[in-house]
C-alpha cells in the first residue's frame, strides 16, 4: 500500500465514522426538538414511556439509537486515536494522557455547560451527570484497556453486559447522597444520572472492537459492509431471541413481536436486550453508510460536517432550544409531531451552517480547547 492509498483510506475511514456520527447527531436534534416542542413531553416519562399513537412512537423511538451510536463511535475513535499516536511514535503514557484529558473535558462540559443549557441557562446546575459525562468517563476507562487485543476487549464488554442485570439488583438508598452518586454514576439510572457508566461503557468497548475491523482489519469496503451487516444482523437476532424468551435480559414486559412494547424495553438504565439490539443497529447503520458512500460518494457529505464536530453540535443546539423554547417560552411543548418536524427543520437550517463553520475553525485552530470540542 503506497502512501497515497494509505492517505485515501485514512480519510475514508474517518468519513464513514463522521457521517454516522452526523446521522446520529441529526436524529438527536430531532429527538431534542420533540423534547422542546412536542406536548407529549408534558406527560411522557422517559423511564416509563406511554405512547398515544404510532407517529409519536416513531418520533420517540428514533432517538433511542443516539446514545448507543455516540458511545460506540466514541469507543471507535478512542481506539483509532490511540493506534494513530502510537504509530507516530508517541509514548504510551502520553497517548493515554491525551485521551484522559479529553474524557475529563467531557465531564467538565457536562456539569458546566450541558446541564445548564437544557433550561436556557436560567440556573447553574452542576450537581448531576448525563450522557456527555458518561461518554467522558467511558473514555477514561477505555484508556485502561485500549491496548488489549480486540478479543479481550470483546470479552470484557460481553462480560459487563451479561453480568450487568445482576449488578443492577444491588439495593441502595437513593435518599443517601453518596449512595445515589456512586450507584447512579456507575450502575443505576436516576435523578443524578440517567446514563450510568457501566452498561454504556460496554457499548464504548464494543465500538473499539468494531473499530479494529472497520479502521484496520477489514481492508476493503466490501469486507466492511459484509462483516458489518453480518455482525449487526446477528446481534439483532440474538437480541430478538432474548426478548422473545421474556426472561433474562428483559426488564419491561411486552405483548407481541413488533408491538410498541416489544421495542420499548428499559432504556434508563438499558436492558441487555436494549444494548444488543442497538449495538446491532449501529453496526448495520455504519455498514449501510459505507455502502451508500460506495455508490453515491458525495450523498452523505452533509452528515460529515455534523459528525466532525459532534460535541459542538450537541452543546449548541440544546443551548439554542433551551433559550428560545424553554426560557423565552416560544412554542414550548405546545405542538405535536408536525410542529416538532417544523422546529427540527428550522433548527437544521440554523445548525448545519454553524457546524460547517465551526468545523473549519477547528481544522485551522491550534487552540487546545477548540480542538477538544
Amino acid at each position: 500500500m503506497n502512501s497515497t492509498e494509505k492517505s485515501g483510506n485514512t480519510k475514508q475511514r474517518f468519513d464513514f465514522i463522521d457521517q454516522f456520527r452526523g446521522f446520529v447527531g441529526i436524529l438527536m436534534l430531532l429527538g431534542h426538538s420533540s423534547y422542546y416542542f412536542n406536548s407529549i413531553w408534558l406527560y411522557l416519562d422517559p423511564a416509563d414511556p406511554l405512547i398515544p399513537n404510532c407517529e409519536q412512537f416513531i418520533l420517540r423511538y428514533i432517538g433511542y439509537i443516539c446514545a448507543p451510536g455516540f458511545l460506540m463511535m466514541n469507543g471507535a475513535m478512542v481506539w483509532w486515536a490511540y493506534q494513530k499516536r502510537i504509530l507516530k511514535g508517541t509514548p504510551d503514557w502520553s497517548t493515554r494522557w491525551h485521551l484522559i484529558q479529553r474524557g475529563l473535558f467531557l465531564v467538565l462540559v457536562q456539569v458546566t455547560w450541558v446541564n445548564s443549557s437544557w433550561g436556557g441557562f436560567s440556573e447553574f446546575k452542576p450537581a448531576h451527570l448525563g450522557i456527555i459525562s458518561t461518554i467522558g468517563i467511558s473514555m477514561l476507562l477505555l484508556t485502561l484497556i485500549i491496548k488489549l487485543k480486540w478479543q479481550f476487549r470483546l470479552g470484557i464488554a460481553l462480560a459487563i453486559l451479561f453480568i450487568y442485570p445482576f449488578i443492577l439488583q444491588i439495593d441502595y438508598n437513593s435518599e443517601i447522597y453518596w449512595q445515589q452518586v456512586l450507584m447512579q454514576t456507575f450502575i443505576d439510572a436516576g435523578d443524578f444520572n440517567k446514563y450510568p457508566v457501566l452498561p454504556w461503557f460496554a457499548l464504548a468497548i464494543l465500538g473499539s472492537v468494531m473499530a479494529t475491523g472497520w479502521l484496520k482489519g477489514w481492508k476493503t469496503d466490501k469486507q466492511k459492509i459484509i462483516y458489518s451487516l453480518a455482525i449487526g444482523v446477528t446481534s439483532i437476532l440474538i437480541a430478538t431471541l432474548i426478548r422473545m424468551e421474556r426472561g433474562f435480559g428483559n426488564i419491561f414486559p411486552f405483548s407481541d413481536f413488533g408491538s410498541y412494547s416489544f421495542f420499548l424495553d428499559q432504556k434508563y438504565p438499558p436492558s441487555l436486550y436494549h444494548n444488543l439490539w442497538f449495538f446491532g443497529w449501529v453496526v448495520v447503520g455504519v455498514g449501510v453508510i459505507i455502502l451508500i458512500n460506495k455508490i453515491f460518494p458525495k450523498l452523505l457529505n452533509v452528515l460529515s460536517s455534523v459528525g466532525r464536530v459532534p460535541l459542538f453540535f450537541y452543546c449548541i443546539h440544546i443551548a439554542i432550544l433551551g433559550i428560545i423554547s424553554k426560557r423565552i417560552g416560544l412554542f414550548y411543548r405546545e405542538g405535536e409531531v408536525v410542529e416538532t418536524l417544523i422546529g427540527f427543520a428550522i433548527m437544521l437550517i440554523v445548525m448545519l451552517p454553524l457546524a460547517k463553520w465551526f468545523g473549519s475553525v477547528k481544522q485551522r485552530s491550534k487552540n487546545f480547547i477548540i480542538r477538544l470540542i
Partner: protein
C-alpha cells in the same frame, strides 16, 4: 461493472431492510388509529384483533365495596376535601386474554396537559381479573377546576381515554376546552361537540349537579350509562338527574323548578315545570327526553335547570347517530 454490482448489492440489502422494517413497524400498533366514542363517552381505540381487550372507563366518586363497581358514574365532579375520584376500567374480552401477562397503565392528566399520577397494574398469567382501577384525590389543595382526562394504556399503547371536568362545588359547569377533542376528531367536529359555556353562579345557598344517563336503576335509583354523549336509538332516553343541595331550606318549602331542553339550533324544544316540596337539604329531581331517531338529530344539546327564574345548573350533551 463494479458500480452495477454495488447497485445490485445495495438494492438487495435495502430489500432485506425493507422487509425487516415492515415486519417490525407494520404491527407496531395493535389498535386502530381512529378512536370511537362509546355511548358512555369513553373514547376507545378499537383493537385490530377482535379478541383483544375492549375497555370501558367509568368515573365515580364512590365504588361499591362489595362489587367494586362505580356508583353514580359521570364525567363532572366537584372539588371536595375528603372525596376521591375513581376510574374503573372494565376489561371487555378479558376471557380471551387469560393465561397471559398483561401490563396496564392508568394515567391522570390535568388541565395543563401534564400527567399528575400514573398507576401501573400488572396481571400475571394466573390473574383472572377483568377490572382495573385507580383513584385520585378531589381535594381543592391538590386539584383545580378544569378539564381533565384519564387514559388507559395496555402494554404502553393507548387503548382508551375519558374526559371529565372538575368544578367548584358552587358551580356545575365551567369553561370547556375543546382542544383535546379537536386533536382527536378534527376541529370542525369538535366545534360542534363543545362550545364555550358560561354559567351563572347559583345562589350561595344552593348547588346543583346534573348527571345525564340512559336509565335509572329501579332498585337503587342510581343512574345507568351516565355520560354526556348518547346514541340516538328507538326507545332510548336521556334522563337528567339533578342532585341538589339547598342548605337553608325551610320546612316543607315548596320549590318550583324548570327543566329547559335546548336543541342543536339553540332553541328550546321542551320545558317541564316541577314543583317539589321537601325539608331535606339534599334531594334529587329528574326529567327526561326521548332520543328516538324520528325525534332527534345528531348534534349538541343542553339542558338547563332553573329554580324559579334563576339558572342553577346547565349541562351540555351530544347526540350521535347509531352506527351499526
Amino acid at each position: 461493472m463494479k458500480r452495477k454490482n454495488a447497485i445490485k448489492y445495495f438494492f438487495n440489502i435495502f430489500l432485506v431492510f425493507g422487509i425487516v422494517l415492515f415486519i417490525s413497524f407494520s404491527g407496531c400498533s395493535s389498535r386502530e388509529q381512529n378512536p370511537v366514542l362509546l355511548s358512555d363517552s369513553t373514547i376507545v381505540y378499537p383493537p385490530k384483533s377482535p379478541d383483544d381487550i375492549q375497555p370501558t372507563v367509568l368515573l365515580s366518586t364512590k365504588v361499591g365495596k362489595k362489587t367494586g363497581k362505580p356508583v353514580n358514574a359521570g364525567t363532572s365532579f366537584y372539588l371536595s376535601e375528603k372525596s376521591n375520584l375513581y376510574a374503573v376500567v372494565e376489561l371487555g374480552k378479558r376471557n380471551k386474554q387469560l393465561n397471559k401477562d398483561l401490563m396496564f397503565h392508568i394515567d391522570w392528566i390535568g388541565p395543563n396537559g401534564r400527567s399528575f399520577y400514573t398507576k401501573q397494574i400488572n396481571f400475571t398469567a394466573d390473574n383472572k381479573s377483568s377490572r382495573i382501577s385507580s383513584s385520585v384525590s378531589l381535594s381543592p389543595a391538590k386539584r383545580k377546576e378544569g378539564e381533565y382526562k384519564v387514559r388507559v394504556y395496555l402494554f404502553r399503547e393507548l387503548i382508551a381515554e375519558k374526559l371529565f371536568r372538575i368544578t367548584d362545588a358552587l358551580q356545575d359547569t365551567g369553561k370547556q376546552s375543546a382542544s383535546r377533542e379537536a386533536k382527536l376528531f378534527g376541529k370542525d367536529e369538535v366545534e360542534s361537540v363543545r362550545e364555550e359555556t358560561t354559567t351563572k353562579p347559583a345562589s350561595v345557598n344552593i348547588s346543583a349537579k346534573i348527571i345525564l344517563c340512559r336509565k335509572v336503576s329501579k332498585k337503587t335509583g342510581k343512574p345507568i350509562g351516565a355520560g354526556t354523549i348518547f346514541t340516538i336509538k328507538e326507545k332510548e332516553k336521556v334522563i337528567a338527574l339533578v342532585d341538589i343541595e339547598y342548605r337553608k331550606i325551610k320546612t316543607n318549602e315548596q320549590m318550583i323548578f324548570y327543566f329547559d331542553w335546548i336543541g342543536r339550533n339553540g332553541k328550546s324544544f321542551y320545558k317541564k315545570r316541577i314543583i317539589y316540596t321537601t325539608s331535606n337539604p339534599f334531594f334529587t329531581i329528574s326529567n327526561s327526553i326521548s332520543i328516538a331517531p324520528e325525534k332527534r338529530k345528531p348534534g349538541n344539546y343542553k339542558v338547563r335547570v332553573y329554580l324559579d327564574d334563576q339558572l342553577i345548573a346547565e349541562q351540555k350533551f351530544e347526540l350521535i347517530a347509531n352506527i351499526k
